[in-house]
């Protein structure tokens, strides 16, 4: 039942995006042009990367509000450690990814071991990271250009498409496989569908949850790294919009904010939808205030729409407790994929 519903949601989001895209062509034909498409693709790429982490966390039943700060951290650190000539890129990128992963794990630790509500913990971490960045840069990040390789991801094209988009495509494939095919992914679904079962199953479910937040931190750091190529020089607020954008993409993409339901392709669709919408609004010259207002309205609307679609699911949920526990415990005996 839930599989079919999820697939329907994904199709729905992509269809909606296509409709919106065509409509925007009527508003202003320039919006359908190559450069416009490229802008949408590139800007959506960042949201897509960040949204995978957010999506995995939401799938497990939580929320990650520290994504924006970690993105900024990634961008600032890369800008500070690697000059334009790519010297040191080989160690800086893995180091930054590890740092993002570590902050994510810290979030996961707080949520599982200390039992702090997810949004509180991640909000706190976000503020801690933000002030650490502020102190590290003393308010003025080094205004050097981004490492050449990273900037090339955005600027250089193969057959007219910026390299970053190929990169994101590969990312989407790997991420979707991780989420749906691996035992880790199955465990995340199980925990999200029934958190109490997770508590009963104990340590294993804790490790999975910490893993979810760690992945989110990793993705945020990755997003920050590639974002630097787009922004050029690190800005202290570079990551800020992505916290809410990633949540919006996940929600619009059909994932339940309660956890347990959701697919990354859906999230990608959500990100694209919001990307097209945002591009249209910018092209029409709408004030930033509209963007904020509409983003909030869309989150609420998406919730309402998906809730009415999901009302059948809730009735079958109570029977799932035992099977959820079984699934978590049984997975311990399956060979790793």
């Amino acid at each position: 039942m839930t599989r079919v519903l999820a697939q329907r949601a994904v199709l729905g989001v992509f269809a909606l995006t296509a409709v919106l895209f065509v409509l925007s062509g009527f508003i202003a034909p320039a919006l359908l042009s190559g450069p416009s498409l490229r802008t949408i693709g590139v800007l959506s790429s960042f949201v897509i990367i960040a949204s995978f982490g957010q999506g995995i966390v939401i799938l497990s039943g939580g929320l990650d509000l520290s994504i924006g700060s970690i993105i900024t951290l990634g961008g600032v650190l890369l800008g500070a450690w690697v000059p334009q000539s790519n010297v040191g890129l080989w160690w800086a990128v893995p180091a930054i990814l590890v740092i993002g992963f570590a902050f994510g794990a810290f979030n996961g630790f707080g949520v599982t071991v200390l039992r702090i509500p997810a949004f509180v913990m991640t909000l706190a971490t976000g503020i801690i990271v933000q002030s650490a960045v502020l102190e590290y840069t003393k308010g003025a990040p080094q205004a050097t250009a981004a490492p050449q390789l990273i900037a090339d991801l955005i600027d250089s094209k193969w057959w007219g498409i910026p390299i970053i988009i190929y990169f994101v495509f590969v990312f989407i494939v790997i991420a979707s496989l991780l989420e749906n095919m691996s035992s880790f992914g199955r465990l995340v679904h199980a925990i999200g569908a029934n958190p109490k079962a997770g508590v009963v199953a104990g340590l294993r479910s804790n490790c999975v949850t910490i893993g979810c937040y760690a992945i989110s931190g990793f993705c945020a750091a990755l997003c920050g790294i590639v974002l630097l190529g787009f922004v050029g020089a690190p800005i202290l607020s570079m990551g800020d919009p992505y916290t809410m954008d990633s949540i919006a993409a996940v929600v619009v993409g059909g994932s339940s904010i309660l956890g347990g339901i959701g697919t990354f392709p859906g999230t990608v669709g959500g990100a694209l939808f919001l990307g097209v919408l945002s591009n249209d609004m910018t092209a029409l010259g709408m004030k930033a205030a509209w963007r904020t207002l509409i983003q909030g309205a869309i989150i609420v609307l998406a919730l309402i729409v998906f809730r009415s679609l999901q009302s059948e699911r809730r009735r079958s949920r109570s029977g799932g407790a035992m099977s959820a526990v079984k699934q978590i415990l049984l997975s311990a005996r399956e060979p790793a994929e």
């Binding site: 503020i127 102190e135 919730l303």
Partner: protein, 324 residues
């Protein structure tokens, strides 16, 4: 006899931890600041900063007690703050008009939240996240960058002294009393606790769960408006962006005050004192000379500690209540 019953009341109340810490912290702060603190002026400075947070924390308390979260506090504060700094209210009459306006705005936000969470059964975190973003967006329409001026009657009137007494106390005491009565002595309030503890049982006992939960969000919205009013008085200027720090501190105040995030257990006094405690800690750190770098780090760490301490206090109180 009196002492022992007072002690047992103390150990059973979830807010005892925060009250104790506040007293300890106050002593530390007084030692650091010297005589200044015990003058009416010094006291008013201390209270002015805490009162907006205290009211904000109270707003959250109503929702947290039902087992939910209300992120829209930050948005309502931003919106009401913006309205007060651009609308041009004047004088005492204007201050009163402004008060009505902020309550109305808060009520609208609270109504939307309440409808979607209580009747439409949507998740509170998501809904209030959405309304927080929307209210901030509306605020951005009125003011696209921090600026504007809050009328003097509000900014100076509320932060000054009335004779020897800080106006802040004149506001805070009746407010806390009213909120406590609302929560502990009305059917609505008792219903709020019941929903938080066991929804199904509350329904079986005849509590109208949806209506009560709706009113909890409505109340939270109105009180959030009041909090925005006080924030305007304190800062004197407008900011249309939602303040994540304020939100975090408000939740920390609720946590440290002994209100459990699981719902069903907590007090208004705890949240109010918790807010005061957090402000006091920040001011003490500042007085002692800790660099501003640590303020940010500290807020985050404080939040985590607050939840831990609060849940400890809540657990202890629960155990004592069960044992007696």
């Amino acid at each position: 006899m009196v002492v022992s019953s007072a002690l047992s009341l103390y150990s059973r109340s979830p807010s005892s931890v925060s009250i104790t810490l506040y007293i300890v912290m106050f002593v530390v702060y007084a030692l650091a600041q010297g005589h200044f603190v015990t003058t009416p002026y010094g006291l008013s400075v201390l209270l002015n900063n805490s009162i907006a947070l205290a009211v904000g924390a109270t707003s959250l308390t109503f929702v947290v007690l039902t087992g939910g979260f209300d992120l829209s506090l930050a948005g309502t504060v931003a919106l009401t703050n913006t309205i007060l700094s651009v609308a041009g209210f004047k004088g005492v009459g204007g201050a009163l008009e402004a008060l009505v306006v902020v309550c109305l705005v808060g009520a609208i936000v609270g109504t939307v939240n309440g409808l979607l969470v209580a009747y439409y059964k949507l998740q509170s975190i998501a809904v209030t996240l959405g309304t927080m973003i929307m209210t901030s967006g509306i605020a951005l329409f009125m003011l696209n960058a921090p600026g504007g001026t809050v009328p003097d009657s509000i900014a100076y009137g509320l932060t000054g002294l009335l004779g020897p007494v800080p106006v802040a106390i004149i506001i805070l005491v009746p407010f806390t009393a009213a909120a406590t009565v609302l929560l502990n002595y009305t059917r609505f309030g008792i219903g709020v606790f019941a929903i938080g503890q066991d929804r199904a049982a509350a329904r079986a006992s005849g509590v109208n769960v949806e209506w009560t939960e709706f009113r909890a969000y409505l109340t939270a919205g109105i009180v959030a408006g009041l909090s925005g009013y006080l924030v305007s008085a304190e800062t004197g200027t407008g900011d249309p962006r939602f303040d994540a720090s304020f939100l975090l501190l408000a939740f920390a105040a609720v946590a440290i005050g002994g209100t459990s995030f699981r719902g069903g257990r907590g007090t208004v006094i705890g949240s109010v004192v918790g807010a005061g405690l957090l402000e006091l800690i920040q001011k003490t750190l500042f007085a002692v000379g800790v660099s501003s770098f640590f303020t940010g780090m500290f807020e985050g760490a404080l939040m985590i500690l607050a939840v831990l301490v609060g849940s400890l206090g809540s657990m202890m109180a629960a155990r004592r209540s069960a044992a007696s």
